[in-house]
Symmetry: C2
Subunit: 208 residues, 2 copies
């Protein structure tokens, strides 16, 4: 069975921590292409996607708008009224693929979760959404484990770097250039980004 | 069957990119505890570990010393003479656990590989080591895929954040504090490191 998918998304002034390498309009375009990559993967899985956005934008996908930009409040109003199983997946996960997402849906526990880089939460899969509430921002991964424990829900942590790698900072673009295959990666290349092989970790350079 | 494990390791002046947060002797201690965490996990898997070090140091584990600090050359002299299956695993992977490593050993392909953060290679599993040669440093993950292709070896890329997260930079310590359970994590806490929940990704602070 195909889970529904809730996708938080910010169309205006997104990805501010990429400001040092991308112009404002490039950040918007890049964020929208990462979303398209995620939507493409969800489509392969026959998921029914709903974008939970900070404002309406041009898309054929069903949208719920967060009036006061409080993502937690909006999601926590949706979850109690959801009887179908749900994936809550961030829009900045262009490395997400069908194999990695299927590992969440295949869990034998009540829910599955993938931590983001730096303590956040990238994906949550809930068999019974009404039993859970979200608390995003900051060290949300540890908060979500605690909420699950308090709700008596068994949890599986899915060990996936594709889903762990949210694209927030310039160094994250390296991962997209190495492991990505979708539209957001192609856009980076179009903008002139290439890998820069220096001592230590590989970096990026942009030829303008 | 239990694979042999080759573990490259640098006992003197390791982890220089952690110099901003750790004193030289702390870096040496921290590196040795990360190695112990990796060895502990390999022991659970009944692996036979061999440390490939830049110099001899105090350990009960079998050691091969790299005379001229050329890791690639040393490994490429060992591999052709190895008939047993082999894991080559870096010593800075304290999040490695039995479940993640077993995914490599269980591969149905000729080899399995885990990319490191920033384009490196964190773990390689080789069923027939004599058919492969390594080329570490820089964007070694892509180089290793190419070497495998040229050697006609089928490859599985293992999607694991626990094995993807090599601990090189201060931000990586966040991951160890959130997801680690071993001696290296306990040492960080002993040194006063805690999570710092600021806007965006979680950071670290050290109380001295």
């Amino acid at each position: 069975m195909c889970p529904h998918a809730l996708i938080p998304y910010k169309p205006k002034n997104p990805k501010t921590r990429l400001s040092s390498v991308l112009e404002p309009e490039e950040r918007e375009k890049f964020a929208s292409l990462m979303l398209e990559d995620v939507l493409g993967t969800l489509k392969e899985m026959c998921c029914m996607p709903v974008i939970v956005g900070t404002e309406l934008f041009d898309s054929e996908v069903v949208q719920v708008t967060v009036k006061d930009a409080d993502l937690n409040q909006t999601l926590n109003e949706i979850l109690p009224n959801t009887i179908h199983d749900v994936l809550i997946i961030m829009a900045d996960l262009p490395l997400a693929d069908e194999a990695s997402l299927k590992r969440l849906v295949a869990t034998e526990t009540d829910m599955a979760i993938v931590p983001g880089r730096g303590g956040g939460t990238n994906v949550i899969y809930l068999k019974e959404p009404s039993k859970f509430r979200v608390n995003y921002y900051g060290a949300s991964f540890l908060k979500h484990l605690k909420i699950a424990e308090e709700a008596g829900l068994s949890v599986e942590v899915i060990d996936s770097f594709r889903l762990h790698t949210d694209i927030d900072e310039p160094d994250d673009l390296v991962e997209l250039l190495i492991h990505g295959k979708g539209k957001s990666r192609a856009y980076l290349e179009e903008l002139g980004f290439t890998l820069s092989d220096v001592k230590g970790r590989v970096g990026i350079v942009r030829k303008r």
